[in-house]
């Protein structure tokens, strides 16, 4: 792999809840190369969003805390830098796009102010220069009449346009890494594909790396270079997108792929669901998190927690059982 832009090691984040301490991100490690698109896939509660928020130190404390690990970005450990240094990185070197643009945009500020603000804050640009650049950026994300729309407020725009504006804001300082957390889940199907295609095109143009957090295995197949699958706060499998879909090794990944209906599958076949329920993070089993739902589990799986091992070249899995 090329020189990594981001190197996450043993990241662990926990929250205090009524049921006790809950480890939402549990010993997660991964690398990201410059310009690469990594999809983090998982269901609700799998820890994919908390992983992203932990990397940016956006975990509210209390109730949450990052209890261990390192996030080395461009040579610096983000877990160790000062708050001021972290602020200089967020929105500048690393930008984040959230699921619901309506809640992450400020309803009382115009688009021009919101898209231009990172340039004023991080680059010391004048507001006049920032507005001019904001107009260019809105044009680049294909908002019609971009310059006129600088005066618009978020409520005057459609959901898709708001997400385009979020992308423009994220791109303002030419970040090296964009983290998009379910960026299109709230949007209609035909708008989803427009926004994702735009995001992919712009990251390719600017050379930024992209972490795409999603639960949609179709989206992953269409846009990701590499995939990391999370379950119960832990990373269970990581590989290139092609290898993961062709040779899924972890029983959870295999189960997911078998359980989703596909447009190109023969009709009239039963889906093969994963039995049972997603894990309760407050009551995790001692061994493998997936063991209670796993058809291939052995007695040892309930006792010892599997670590990530390289089962195929550049293809890692956290499972004791050899997949056929």
């Amino acid at each position: 792999m090329a020189e990594s832009l981001l190197r996450v090691r043993n990241l662990t984040t926990r929250f205090r809840t009524e049921a006790g301490w809950v480890t939402a991100v549990d010993d997660v490690s991964f690398d990201l190369a410059a310009g690469e698109t990594l999809a983090i896939v998982g269901e609700s509660g799998s820890g994919k969003s908390v992983t992203a928020l932990s990397m940016l130190r956006l975990i509210p404390r209390p109730p949450g805390e990052i209890v261990g690990g390192s996030v080395v970005f461009e040579g610096r450990d983000l877990c160790q830098v000062s708050d001021a240094e972290m602020q200089a990185i967020r929105g500048n070197r690393i930008a984040m796009i959230f699921q619901e643009p309506m809640t992450s945009l400020n309803p009382s500020l115009t688009l021009g102010v919101q898209v231009g603000e990172p340039l004023v804050l991080h680059r010391g640009a004048s507001w006049a220069a920032a507005f001019a650049r904001a107009g260019e950026l809105l044009g680049r994300v294909r908002i019609p009449d971009a310059t006129a729309r600088l005066q618009a407020y978020p409520h005057q725009m459609s959901g898709g346009q708001r997400q385009r504006a979020m992308i423009a804001m994220a791109l303002a300082c030419q970040p090296r890494l964009i983290i998009a957390d379910e960026p299109t889940t709230a949007l209609d199907v035909t708008v989803q594909s427009q926004i994702l295609a735009l995001l992919k095109e712009l990251t390719r143009e600017t050379g930024a790396a992209l972490i795409l957090i999603t639960h949609d295995l179709g989206v992953v197949a269409r846009y990701a270079d590499r995939v990391a699958v999370m379950y119960g706060g832990r990373m269970v499998e990581t590989a290139s997108a092609r290898d993961l879909y062709k040779h899924p090794l972890h029983p959870y990944t295999r189960g997911l792929l078998a359980s989703i209906p596909r447009l190109d599958a023969p009709t009239g076949q039963k889906l093969l669901p994963i039995d049972g329920q997603p894990p309760d993070l407050a009551r995790m089993p001692p061994g493998c998190a997936f063991q209670p739902r796993c058809h291939t589990a052995q007695p040892g799986c309930a006792v010892t927690r599997p670590t990530m091992t390289e089962a195929r070249p550049e293809h890692w899995k956290a499972c004791f059982i050899d997949a056929a």
């Binding site: 199907v189 035909t190 594909s193 295995l217 447009l263 669901p273």
Partner: protein, 326 residues
């Protein structure tokens, strides 16, 4: 079965929501035409998928069929009886036979009632089981039917996961021994690994009880899996209605084509070779829908006629399309 009369027949259904202006002298200034002339049938034991993006009127159509939303125009015929204007008393026997499954099972279930009470309540209302013991036993049978343990009957809804709550909602609907379930996005709020469990449950219940489903959803892969026939809606109109295999193999309406192209297939090698044709823009508001064909401002193939004249739904050998260019 095609010779049997349909279980449900919807003819020219319109649901318009008036828009008012003025404080002192309120006057109607327009109408949101949420559903604007929709016709379809559902036969006994059949699944009709109703797909479209938000605001296309698919949920309003479902509510109008159940008479939970008044129809502005058109007819709703259930098992041979016109129920469009039936009063409460006349509706009662039909209400039992048509049940609704909601997207958010938590919002649809009373948090202060035990599961047994939730399932028994409609039996009391419709006087299906008279004694409490009988209802308790029936509730336990129903729980087993939807894949829950009978001893869960004494618990409260908050103790259950999303998938289990959806099972409880299905058990409550089944308590009425319905003929038709109207399912409004029944799996879209569930985790991916749970969706297949509920989809399979719907299928096995259909096999067992001969249920008909009006399956409203935006996920085209789930709809393809579930449905015998599919109606595609756009801004209050059905733009295409066809058998499942016909629609997915050869979508004729440009909007159906765009919808299908937007769905990514979970296989990177296939995705790499698929043409990424996609429509531009977003669904306009239903208050002032575009003239002519409502899809024409976004349609890659639109001609002058499309902005001028509204295309009628035409039957092309079992596959009906509303498009001037087909």
């Amino acid at each position: 079965m095609p010779h049997n009369p349909p279980l449900l027949s919807v003819e020219g259904l319109k649901v318009h929501f008036p828009v008012h202006a003025g404080v002192i002298r309120r006057r109607q200034v327009g109408a949101v035409k949420a559903v604007d002339g929709v016709s379809f049938t559902v036969r006994a034991g059949e699944t009709l998928g109703l797909v479209g993006e938000s605001g296309c009127g698919k949920s309003t159509t479902g509510l109008a069929v159940l008479r939970m939303q008044a129809a502005t125009e058109g007819r709703i015929i259930f098992d041979g009886s016109d129920i469009t204007h039936s009063n409460r008393a006349a509706m009662r026997p039909f209400r039992r036979r048509m049940q609704m499954i909601y997207q958010d099972p938590f919002g649809a279930l009373d948090p202060r009632m035990t599961v047994a009470d939730i399932i028994a309540e409609p039996m009391i209302v419709h006087q299906i089981s008279t004694s409490a013991a009988e209802r308790r036993e029936r509730a336990q049978d129903l729980l087993a039917m939807v894949g829950l343990r009978p001893d869960m009957a004494t618990r409260y809804v908050h103790e259950f996961s999303g998938g289990q709550r959806q099972r409880i909602g299905i058990a409550r609907a089944l308590a009425m021994q319905p003929d038709l379930l109207i399912c409004d996005e029944p799996v879209s709020a569930l985790d991916v690994s749970i969706q297949a469990q509920i989809v399979n449950l719907f299928e096995s219940l259909q096999d067992r009880f001969g249920l008909a489903y009006l399956f409203i959803a935006h996920d085209l892969a789930v709809v393809r899996h579930m449905s015998d026939r599919i109606a595609v809606m756009y801004l209050g109109k059905i733009v295409e209605i066809a058998g499942r295999d016909e629609l997915y193999a050869r979508p004729l309406h440009p909007y159906s084509q765009a919808l299908l192209a937007s769905v990514a297939i979970p296989d990177p090698e296939i995705e790499a070779t698929r043409p990424q044709i996609s429509v531009t823009g977003e669904v306009p508001g239903a208050l002032n829908p575009p003239s002519g064909c409502r899809f024409h401002p976004r349609c890659p193939r639109a001609q002058a006629v499309c902005a001028r004249e509204e295309p009628a739904l035409r039957d092309l050998g079992g596959q009906s399309v509303a498009c001037h260019l087909v």
